[in-house]
């Protein structure tokens, strides 16, 4: 099944056109134009499915990816930088990403028609969503580093706009301000992006190319020569971008705050698709990463997986739990790629997209219902206080009866994320843990921490997800009588996406064998790791070693999930294990977790405060010193001119005046003689005569 550029151009253009139309005419369209955006993404989904099935059943990209170049993008000049072109590349990974992005988008857009109904900027919301879809598709479809970077930043922009969508709200959850959360997200991502850009520049400066294939080719042909360290550095710099976008420690801080956006946004961008872009990027540039870089990636991912999971343990805000869970799961994907389980990482990206989107949408459905109930009960919703906080799980309890569909679908997702057999999550997580097991315990015993972190995170995941389910849906509801009456299931346009996503959490889509022992499923053959371009590459472990590791890993991870669930069950039976007791006991560990290891505080006090302080000092420096020098020069000049004016007036001019004054004064004196009296003159004449006589006489 051959595909043409028309297909991909359409896939890209439709959301963009929808975005432009929405921005300018959205408000005037019937229903705020939501049908336009959803229609565009639906067509995209159909086109993507066609591409995907073409790839899956007819191997349309086997060996040769689809490539199309737009020449003369930077200029017509024949050689060098200006000859760089941009374009589109489609292979199996792209096809999978297309389906993941468009399907999640379609379902979440549909959900949004219910969730955002009645908002004053309803049409703008859909415009932003459409912009996001376009950017994400651009990111996925681009055939070069620049296009990837462009899509990368543009999804950041849509994320910024959507996190700040409720910008006029002072707070939306106890400590989340949308206006600053969106800024934080953008700037944190910018920090990563700078690393990413430097990575791109390093690659470009050595290879002179930007298209993926060309870069790989050049590196394979020794563009880096002996500078393999630089290649490692380049890999780590590129990964910096992924660290920010996929919220890996230490650049994860923006993601929990990103929950300031409306819940569908959290589901689509901050759980299912955009945050997975980092994983996609690592997978796309996989041939470039040296073993050292991959080990670094694996450690970051594994640490993040555990790190996020521990914080999720004690969060009470339902979206916060999910946010930290996302961080943790992204860590899984990242270390999956890092340990060489390439297809597993991408597989988990796909399954996670579905079950995490489902979890967020379910949370959205719950929050929506809670809001309505509070409103109906006449209770003032106050996000600053724990009471009446519609997102606080402690206020929920027992929503099972009122919201059966939401409950059932959430339960499916919880099982999936915890890695229980017969779910998609089991398959993908298991592959990752299997890879980690083989990497850390079998091949590189010095890196044993990676699988240990992975398994520990698995225990915690099962625990906090079960805790979420218990606190939200089980037990009895404690809301006031009037409020309880108003609690009811969300409308169809919100529940249908939930059900569809729950269906996608089944094992059967990915592998007929729910245990993966007997059949490998299509994923591992569809998403085969590309040949590395690095000179000395990871030595792949023999298949049977992996298989053995796989079985062992599966058993361990199953017991992990079991342990987690058991602990959660104990928690459900109040008293056996109680976080509340833990909190009240004043445990340092509890507060450490509840305050997210104080990372935010650390950044605020050091990086943020430092930057602001430096900028203030420099602002002062500029105003007082640099400008002061200029002004002082000016003042010196005026002073000098005053001095010379003084000298001129009293020195040079004074001399002239003095001469004139002398003449005048002498004249004044001499004219006294001229009395006009004849007698005086006669006296003068006589005296003169006498003097004359005397003188001549002598």
């Amino acid at each position: 099944m051959e595909t043409t550029i028309t297909t991909y151009a359409l896939i890209l253009a439709l959301p963009l056109v929808a975005f432009v139309v929405q921005v300018f005419f959205g408000k005037r369209l019937p229903r705020g134009g939501d049908w336009l955006v959803i229609g565009a993404i639906c067509i995209d989904l159909l086109l993507s499915l066609r591409v995907f099935f073409g790839a899956l059943f007819f191997s349309s990209f086997a060996g040769t990816p689809f490539v199309w170049n737009l020449r003369g993008w930077l200029g017509d000049a024949g050689t060098g930088v200006l000859a760089l072109s941009t374009g589109i590349l489609v292979d199996n990974v792209t096809a999978m990403m297309l389906v993941v992005v468009t399907s999640c988008s379609t379902l979440i857009f549909l959900f949004s028609t219910g969730y955002m109904a009645g908002h004053r900027r309803y049409s703008l919301f859909f415009a932003y969503l459409s912009l996001f879809a376009f950017s994400m598709l651009l990111l996925v479809l681009g055939n070069n580093l620049i296009a990837l970077f462009m899509g990368w930043e543009l999804v950041g922009l849509s994320s910024y706009l959507l996190i700040g969508f409720l910008f006029e709200e002072p707070v939306v959850a106890p400590d989340i301000v949308p206006a600053s959360a969106c800024k934080k997200a953008f700037i944190t991502n910018r920090i990563g992006d700078t690393g990413f850009l430097l990575g791109i520049l390093t690659l470009f400066s050595f290879t002179g190319k930007i298209a993926y294939g060309d870069v790989f080719e050049a590196v394979r042909n020794g563009a880096f020569g002996d500078h393999t360290t630089l290649l490692t550095v380049a890999g780590i710099l590129l990964f910096c971008g992924a660290m920010a976008k996929s919220a890996q420690f230490p650049l994860h801080v923006w993601l929990p705050d990103a929950m300031a956006g409306p819940t569908p946004v959290s589901a689509l961008i901050h759980a299912a698709t955009m945050v997975a872009a980092g994983v996609y990027m690592v997978a796309r540039l996989y041939p470039l990463f040296t073993p050292d870089a991959l080990t670094f990636i694996a450690y970051v991912g594994a640490f993040t997986a555990l790190f996020g999971a521990t914080i999720a343990l004690v969060m009470n805000d339902i979206k916060r739990v999910l946010a930290y869970s996302t961080i943790s799961q992204l860590g899984y994907m990242v270390f999956g790629l890092g340990v060489g389980a390439y297809s597993a990482g991408l597989f988990h990206l796909m399954t996670h997209a579905f079950f995490k989107a489902l979890l967020f949408l379910a949370a959205g459905s719950v929050i929506h219902a809670m809001h309505r109930a509070y409103h109906y009960a006449g209770l003032e919703w106050n996000p600053r206080s724990r009471e009446n906080d519609a997102q606080d799980m402690r206020n929920m309890d027992g929503l099972r009866k009122a919201m059966p569909v939401t409950f059932a679908t959430t339960a499916v997702a919880v099982l999936a994320i915890s890695g229980v057999p017969f779910t998609s999550g089991f398959l993908s997580k298991d592959m990752i843990l299997g890879g980690a097991f083989a990497f850390g315990f079998v091949e590189n015993p010095q890196h044993f921490l990676i699988p240990v972190f992975g398994f520990a995170a698995a225990v915690l995941t099962a625990f906090y997800m079960a805790r979420l389910l218990i606190m939200t849906f089980l037990g009895t509801n404690r809301m006031a009588e009037r409020g309880q009456e108003a609690l009811r299931e969300s409308p169809w346009n919100m529940t249908v996406p939930l059900v569809l996503l729950a269906v996608l959490c089944g094992w059967f889509w990915y592998n007929p064998d729910p245990t993966t022992i007997f059949a490998k499923g299509w994923v591992s053959s569809f998403l085969t790791p590309p040949a590395s371009a690095v000179p000395q590459t990871l030595v792949a472990a023999p298949a049977d070693a992996h298989h053995a590791a796989h079985v062992a890993a599966m058993l361990v991870s199953l017991s992990c999930a079991g342990a987690g669930f058991f602990a959660a069950w104990m928690l459900g039976r109040r008293g056996a294990i109680s976080l509340e007791h833990w909190r009240l006991s004043g445990s340092r560990v509890y507060y450490l977790l509840a305050n997210k290891y104080y990372v935010d505080e650390l950044y605020n006090r050091t990086v943020v405060a430092g930057m602001v302080q430096v900028s203030r000092i420099l602002g002062w420096f500029d105003k007082v010193l640099v400008d002061g020098v200029v002004n002082a020069t000016g003042r010196f000049q005026t002073g000098l001119s005053e001095l010379s004016g003084f000298v001129d007036r009293y020195g040079v001019d004074g001399l002239v005046n003095a001469l004139a004054g002398f003449v005048r004064d002498t004249g004044n004196e001499v004219r006294q003689i001229q009395t006009g009296r004849i007698q005086n003159y006669v006296v003068y004449a006589t005296v003169g005569l006498i003097v004359l006589i005397v003188v001549t006489g002598m």
């Binding site: 993008w73 930043e153 600053s180 640099v626």
Partner: protein, 517 residues
């Protein structure tokens, strides 16, 4: 259309004459004056559009050259011409000139004088970019200076006199140094000539002139040629403005009326970098190579220091002014990156892009100032809810300024980095922090001005009216350019490519072995 450049240069002067003969007693004289100014700039714009299409993109030579005797006794000639280096600047001048007239529509004080000076200014600016004779260049340089002084000094804000005189003296200092350097070159020519193009050929200099001969380096160990280079550089660096000659800029911007800020940031700053590329590079390439690292250091200081200072500003306009300093740093960094053609192309494109983007920001700041009568960043809040169209435009302009892909600023910054990373790796890495800082100060501003709860001072119905169609008309052309070039930069890069290619060759051969790894 063989005299297109003369037309382009002197059409505003004709418009100015027309404005001067309109009697102010006439009942609708104000409107008439405005429309004459608008018509003149529209005419210039049309000529520029013709120029854009008629320009031969495959040639690196001067085009549309006009050459005539002017003062034969001193071999001073009237020479105009454009090549890839100046064409973008000439186009930018006409665009900004047109936009500026639209933005000046609400000037009510001494309208006749304002627009007359405005058009004179435009003649000067276009002339600077077209002139190929040093004397003509210098004359236009000064012609542009004087109206600017009055436009700031009369129609400016509270401290207008201070700002105007500071601007004037600073630039004058630069001009004087430039004049000295011009004379130094002139006196060493084999056949007396002020031609900039002739000076680019070392064969035209007297072999026994004191400039070429190795003279004792009595002044801080600098050769006469290096002194000439430095004189030119300081003259141009003041205009850029390069650290530490930048402090006239925030003052001039803060006090200048909106349209004049737009021109100041949009065009005048470009004259500095244009001058370096037009004069220092081809005429004194060896000295440029010698001082390349020095320029790169200043560039990095401009980028980082400008961004950090911008973050500390409390006034919207001075924030944008400092951001200009930061962005002009990229131009300087790009133009000394000679490993590949990305640096020079990025630098020239950045000159154009910065012109359009910063002009947009200044226009929008002007819009908010007209409504609120203050520009304190902390004095706003939540304006997005009140004026969504205005806010969206501002956000798009900010995004362009912080280099968001899809908008033109990204392409030029990327090219600059592609060049700089190859040539000055450490500087490029330091400069990349400007990317983060740029996002930080712009987003922080957006947060404080447009987001959060609405400031109660603007809660009333007509307290902060939405941006008017006229104001939108002034911003939209620029935004269209920014988006088009952001998505498809080839039209601009094709114009400048060949010329910069040959300039790059000049520099590479001057740098010789120094450039190779």
């Amino acid at each position: 259309m063989s005299n297109i450049l003369s037309w382009l240069t002197f059409l505003p002067l004709v418009g100015m004459a027309a404005i001067l003969v309109i009697p102010t007693r006439l009942r609708k004289s104000t409107g008439l004056i405005r429309y004459v100014a608008l018509g003149t700039t529209l005419g210039c714009f049309a000529l520029a559009a013709w120029l854009f299409f008629a320009f031969d993109r495959s040639s690196s030579a001067m085009q549309f050259v006009e050459n005539a005797d002017w003062i034969p006794y001193f071999s001073i000639r009237y020479t105009l011409g454009v090549d890839g280096l100046s064409i973008l600047m000439v186009l930018l001048t006409q665009i900004i000139g047109l936009v500026g007239v639209i933005a000046s529509w609400n000037i009510t004080k001494a309208v006749k004088g304002y627009f007359a000076l405005y058009l004179l200014l435009q003649t000067g600016m276009t002339g600077v970019f077209c002139a190929l004779d040093f004397v003509l260049f210098y004359v236009f340089w000064e012609v542009m200076l004087l109206p600017m002084y009055f436009l700031i000094g009369i129609w400016g804000g509270p401290r207008k006199e201070y700002a105007a005189i500071k601007f004037f003296l600073y630039t004058l200092l630069g001009s004087v140094l430039m004049l000295l350097a011009i004379l130094a070159l002139y006196l060493n020519m084999q056949a007396p000539s002020f031609s900039i193009t002739a000076m680019a050929d070392p064969a035209n200099f007297r072999a026994d002139g004191w400039l070429v001969r190795n003279m004792p380096t009595w002044f801080f160990g600098l050769t006469p040629k290096e002194l000439v280079w430095l004189a030119f550089f300081v003259g141009f660096a003041i205009k850029i403005p390069a650290f530490p000659f930048h402090t006239w800029l925030p003052d001039a911007h803060v006090e200048a009326p909106t349209a004049i800020s737009v021109i100041l940031a949009g065009i005048l700053l470009k004259m500095g970098t244009y001058g370096i590329l037009r004069v220092n590079f081809p005429i004194l390439p060896a000295e440029t190579v010698h001082f390349a690292t020095f320029i790169a250091v200043i560039a990095v200081i401009n980028i980082v220091y400008g961004a950090l200072c911008a973050m500390a500003q409390k006034d919207l306009k001075s924030l944008v002014a400092y951001s200009s300093i930061s962005h002009m740093g990229y131009v300087m960094l790009g133009m000394v990156s000679w490993r590949n053609e990305a640096g020079l192309n990025g630098a020239v494109l950045q000159m154009f892009n910065h012109g359009t983007i910063t002009a947009m920001l200044f226009l929008l700041v002007g819009v908010v100032y007209d409504r609120a009568h203050h520009r304190r960043i902390d004095g706003f809040g939540g304006l997005w809810a009140k004026a969504p169209v205005f806010s969206s435009l501002f956000v798009v302009a900010s995004m362009a300024a912080l280099g968001l892909p899809g908008l033109s600023g990204f392409i030029s910054e990327l090219l600059v980095f592609m060049g700089a990373f190859a040539s000055h790796r450490v500087f490029a890495v330091i400069a990349s922090s400007g990317i983060v800082l740029g996002a930080a100060y712009l987003l922080w501003t957006i947060q404080r001005v447009f987001m959060g709860p609405l400031n109660q001072a603007y809660a009333e119905k007509d307290a902060m009216p939405e941006i008017s169609p006229r104001e939108i008309a002034s911003v939209v052309p620029l935004m269209a350019i920014v988006i088009v070039l952001g998505v498809y930069p080839a039209p601009a890069l094709n114009l400048i490519g060949p010329t910069l290619g040959s300039l790059l060759q000049t520099m590479q051969s001057a740098a010789g072995a120094a450039i190779l790894p």
